[in-house]
């Protein structure tokens, strides 16, 4: 009775001999499967992160606080402009306190520096 020849299999396991086509095919499939799984995990994790980040609520302009700030500034400007406009009507009155004695008597009386000589 002869003993089985294990030389080939021992050498293959030691990496000193080539693998059979079937084994090589199996190994290629396993590597391909592992790469595909790894890619899927990376893509899935990335997607999850993106999804989580995008679902975090972000302030939508204008928010109520920003609108209040904006409106207070805008209405403040409007009121300020209104007051300045109304003051503009009376602006000529204080300049009239220039004493009459200091007014020009000459032919250029209508174009004095303060510009408030009688316009009639």
């Amino acid at each position: 009775m002869t003993a089985p020849d294990l030389t080939e299999s021992v050498l293959r396991r030691l990496g000193l001999a080539g693998v059979t086509p079937g084994t090589a095919k199996r190994r290629r499939r396993r590597r391909a499967f592992l790469r595909a799984t790894l890619c899927a995990v990376v893509v899935g994790a990335g997607g999850l992160v993106v999804t989580l980040l995008s679902s975090q609520p972000q302030p939508l302009a204008p928010t109520v606080p920003s609108a209040i700030r904006h409106d207070l500034q805008q209405h403040g400007r409007t009121i300020d402009r209104t007051v300045r406009t109304i003051r503009g009507i009376a602006r000529q009155l204080p300049t009239l306190t220039v004493p009459a004695s200091s007014r020009h008597d000459g032919p250029d009386a209508q174009v004095s520096d303060d510009g408030v000589e009688p316009s009639i």
Binding site: A67, D71, G88, L93, P118, I120
Partner: protein
């Protein structure tokens, strides 16, 4: 007595304790809160103002900004209309508090919402739940950049980027602090004003407190109540540096003659004569070299002087013009009518001569001759050229005149020396003040008032509308649009108030109190 009792209660308790006190929330506020605004029954207030012109003005004012859009989005997120969301969130008792923060002002809104309603609203809005603070649930509504805290019925709202005041108030929601805004002198005064104002618990009421920044310093506090179409206001201020230029009156007088002027113009006010000598008087004296009131006439003055502002329809003038030209009348109470005639005649002649001198002859005003005056008849001197120089090229300005008379000389209880810028206005004021029946004193109206006045908003609105169409006569070409916007803004506001009355006193040189009443213009639907 009642005021003293209220102060005693407040001092003993350390905070406002009256039921329905509009300053109740001050007990939760830090002492450095500078602005405190509280509204009771805001939903009712919204409903009462909605169809009135004043409500329309508020809406159009708000619509110019971004808040309506932001509010609509927030309301929609809660599955409600804007009005329903307002009523649910802010419709009962709501308080705005603000203070100066490190970089900008910080504010919070404290509102009262039934727990089941606030829970439902929070479910709809889905805020992020943050770690509780002092056993108070805290939430972050990132879409609106708001933080919220909820403790039983109280909900505190603040912006998430300036939450210093929010963090200071949150611990107080369960337990009021020992030191708070409630101990401030202004809160105690406001509580008293609220008690004096009265009103039923369901009434819409508002309260405002401001701590003024230097250099003015001090504080102002006011409470207001809306009763159908009537807003009643009580106000008090105390300043570190008072902005008043006039003296505190030493007179006790009766403002009832003001009632006679109802219907004669759009503004009228009455003052004591011992507070005159302000900037206007100094301006006239400097400009003309003559005092506004001569020494002789001054010695003959009674306790009161009235200023009335009205307008004349330019289309009825000769020549006609398309403008409601404002007219001013001033009535001085005099002790001796016969002496007043000669005193005012003499003084007006001197004033007209002084005006001629001011214009260096170019005004060509006719200085009246006393021999031409008819005894007991009103006098009139045209001063159109001077008015044109002073106010510019305004339609109808040439028809301005200086008119004067003495009213009540025929035996009326009170005599008045009246000066007006138009003869029709002089006649109207004279007729009103000679109507003794309407001018009779009312018991309890005597007081040391600083001023008392009446205003007619809708008549003022008509006048402003007239000016709006002639804005180019008031402003430089580049400012015409701004002038028209300003006039329209004021016109719409005036349109919302039918009539108003006020009385002001100055107990000391640094303090002032006001009682005012505004009759709102009726809802637009009922006017049609």
């Amino acid at each position: 007595m009642r005021s003293t009792t209220v102060i005693a209660i407040c001092l003993l308790s350390g905070r406002a304790v009256l039921a329905g006190d509009p300053f109740e929330a001050a007990a939760l506020a830090p002492p450095d809160v500078r602005l405190f605004v509280h509204i009771d029954n805001a939903a009712r207030l919204r409903g009462q103002l909605h169809n009135r012109p004043i409500g329309r003005w508020v809406r159009s004012w708000l619509a110019q900004g971004e808040l309506p859009a932001a509010w609509e989005r927030l309301a929609n997120a809660a599955g409600l209309t804007e009005a329903d969301f307002f009523d649910k969130c802010l419709g009962r008792r709501v308080t705005l508090m603000s203070r100066a923060g490190e970089f900008s002002s910080e504010w919070v809104v404290l509102t009262e919402i039934e727990p089941d309603v606030s829970a439902a609203l929070l479910r709809s809005l889905s805020p992020r739940v943050l770690a509780p603070s002092n056993d108070v649930g805290v939430f972050h509504l990132a879409e609106q950049a708001l933080v919220l805290a909820r403790a039983d019925r109280l909900v505190l709202i603040a912006p998430d980027d300036g939450r210093g005041l929010f963090d200071a108030v949150v611990p107080n929601l369960h337990r009021a602090p020992d030191v708070s805004l409630a101990q401030h002198e202004a809160v105690l005064r406001g509580t008293i004003l609220g008690t004096e104002l009265g009103g039923d618990p369901g009434q819409a009421r508002a309260a405002v407190l401001i701590q003024h920044a230097p250099p003015l310093g001090g504080w102002s506090v006011a409470v207001a109540g809306l009763d159908d179409d009537r807003v009643r206001v009580r106000h008090a201020s105390r300043f570190d540096s008072a902005p008043f230029r006039s003296r505190v009156t030493a007179l006790t007088w009766d403002p009832s003659p003001l009632r006679c002027l109802e219907g004669t113009g759009f503004l009228g006010y009455i003052e004591p004569t011992d507070t005159s000598g302000g900037p206007f008087d100094a301006f006239v004296a400097t400009l003309l070299g003559e005092p506004l009131i001569s020494q002789a006439l001054g010695d003959n003055l009674g306790a009161r002087r009235i200023t009335a502002v009205s307008d004349v329809e330019g289309r009825l003038e000769d020549p006609p013009f398309d403008l409601l030209l404002p007219t001013v009348a001033r009535a001085y109470e005099v002790l001796d009518a016969a002496r007043a005639w000669s005193q005012v005649d003499t003084h007006m002649i001197r004033l007209v001569a002084a005006l001629n001198q001011l214009g260096q002859g170019s005004f060509e005003l006719a200085v009246p001759d006393p021999a031409d005056f008819e005894p007991g008849r009103p006098r009139s001197v045209p001063i159109g050229p001077m008015a044109r120089w002073l106010f510019g090229d305004i339609a109808g300005i040439d028809q301005v005149s200086l008119n004067w008379t003495v009213a009540g000389a025929g035996g009326a209880a009170t005599r008045w020396c009246i000066v007006a810028s138009h003869p029709d206005h002089l006649d109207a004021v004279t007729a009103a003040l000679e109507n003794d029946a309407r001018c009779l004193p009312i018991a309890g109206e005597q007081g040391g008032w600083t001023t008392s006045g009446i205003g007619h908003g809708r008549r003022l609105a008509q006048n402003l509308a007239s000016w709006s169409t002639h804005a180019e006569t008031l402003a430089a070409p580049e400012d015409v649009a701004a002038m028209r916007d300003a006039l329209d803004l004021l016109r719409e506001l005036a349109q919302g108030v039918d009539r108003c009355r006020w009385r002001m006193t100055r107990p000391t040189a640094e303090s002032v109190t006001t009682e005012a009443e505004f009759e709102l213009s009726p809802p637009e639907s009922s006017e049609q």
